[in-house]
Amino acid sequence: MTIPMFHGSRRLLAIGAALLATTAAAQTPAAAPVLESETAYTHKLPAAQPHWAFIRGAFDSGGTRIFDGDTGKMKGMIDTSKWSDMALDPTNSFYYVSETIWTKTIRGTRQDMVSIYDPVDLKLLAEVPMPGRLLIGERKNNFVISDDGKTGYVYNLSPASSVNVVDLGKRKFVQTVDLAGCASLMPNPAGGFSALCGDGTLATALINGKSATITHSAPFFSATNDPIFDNFVYDRGKRQATFLSYTGLITQATIGATPVIGESWSIQAAAGVRPGDTKPLDVNWLPSGRQPLALHRASGHLYVLMHMGEYWTQKAPATEVWDVDLAAKKVVKRYPLKTPVEHIEVTQDAKPLIFVNSETTTWVFDAKTFEKKFEMERAGGGLLDTVVGR
């Protein structure tokens, strides 16, 4: 309503901005609009809710939308710039964005940083400059946070492979750890991180001050014949990683100074289906998508995106969700999808909701009944995350 006053006067505009500061800073939202008067204000967010999902825009589109699975409504947006990875603080005290920005969009000076956002008003709190990071989309394990929330690990490929260690408490970059031949990180409670390697091993980097010692497990998968999806799941509570391979092998590993890697077993066999293999021409149910697995920590149920096809179709949109009881090593339910999807995530509460999305549409299901709760258009076609979702 202020145009007539402000139009055509920079001085007036300045004052407008000043006013704004006042109004926007108001702690309590104004009462419901009435026909006589309205004042502008900015909403604040409550503490992160168990049924929220963080829905990343599709490739080349910035922004991660927060949606409430109970209402199907958008709550706000986190500034994940085009080349960025987002990580949730284990205590939900911050939203972290590891990002790369040029001073002139696609030219100028490159700037790599971890940007820290307040979860209540979604305002930028700090930028922590650091060396380069890998530019790639759709990866949830290129930027991971230690279980105590104090350290961030940022994967880099230059094309030499390394990891930036960022002190999130002091908000400063600490050091770079070389990690030849490995990628896809998980925090290691023994003080550092672990990663999957091209030789089929699990690498563990234990950081002691400025020095890091890297050890490798015995090979337990074939990185070129039957790769493990690098968007695997890590459970902070159980300190356990759950891996899934192209053919459908599930492997769990307890992460520590010396990770203990369990037996691999076939998700197809767990469903009474012939195990997947790498043979050409052979058609079977196989896992696929860009974020093909989600774990409900408390119940130990793994939800896996599956499709029917030949081998080397690991990115194919999925047509079924398989509900795996990890303890029993049984697929307890199979849910067909009306529309193929590429990402899946599940909330971590006692009444979990499943989020799946395609490039254009996001669906919310009850994880126990698979009853459809909501269908949202343009919510975002990228990675999904939930509170304590990693």
Partner: protein, 181 residues
């Protein structure tokens, strides 16, 4: 000069409010006014710019005939008669409030919309919320009495994020200013 003098326009209006006080003290007062209750006689302006040609309830546009007052997340919500953009009420904000982390622009474009409940015309200030990437939800483009860039306050394509910390456009609100008659 002969040209349409928007500055002069605002100037006149200001003096009107100011009751002849100096520009400075006036603005302070004006500031208070806005924070407290952003309603003051905009009629001269709305008449001159926004109201013509057909502000009367009798002469309804297609939009006005089909507008509703119940759901402010739909493009046919009555206040949205001249909005082009994404409705903040679909982005974590409200019909007149900004989503978390975004900042309401102190300036705006205006529309004159008819409330189907009372058939009266109201002046709506479309204030963009700024400083977040584009919301992308509930995109609307209504054009009642919307004109071109040379009458900027009646044009709905301008990014109205003037005087905000970031000029990035997130979404648009429709703030009720008051009756247009």
């Amino acid at each position: 000069m002969a040209g349409f003098d928007i500055d002069g326009f605002g100037e006149k209006l200001l003096r009107k409010f100011a009751g002849g006080t100096s520009r400075r003290s006036l603005l302070t007062r004006l500031g208070m006014t806005i924070v407290a209750a952003p309603v003051f006689p905009l009629l001269p302006v709305s008449r001159a710019n926004a109201a013509k040609p057909d502000r009367s309830p009798e002469a309804k546009t297609a939009f006005a005939r089909n507008a509703q007052t119940k759901d402010d997340t739909k493009c046919d919500y009555w206040r949205s008669c001249a909005i082009d953009g994404f409705l903040c009420s679909c982005c974590g904000g409200g019909v007149s409030s900004c989503p978390p982390g975004s900042e309401p622009s102190p300036v705006s474009w205006v529309g004159t919309c008819i409330n189907p409940d009372d058939g009266k015309a109201y002046l709506i200030a479309y204030r963009d919320c700024c400083g977040k990437p584009i919301c992308g939800q509930c995109g609307c483009d209504n054009t009642d009495r919307e004109t071109q860039l040379y009458v900027p306050q009646l044009n709905n394509d301008v990014i109205w994020c003037f005087g905000t910390k970031s000029m990035e456009y997130h979404c648009s609100t429709g703030v009720l200013v008051g009756k247009a008659q």
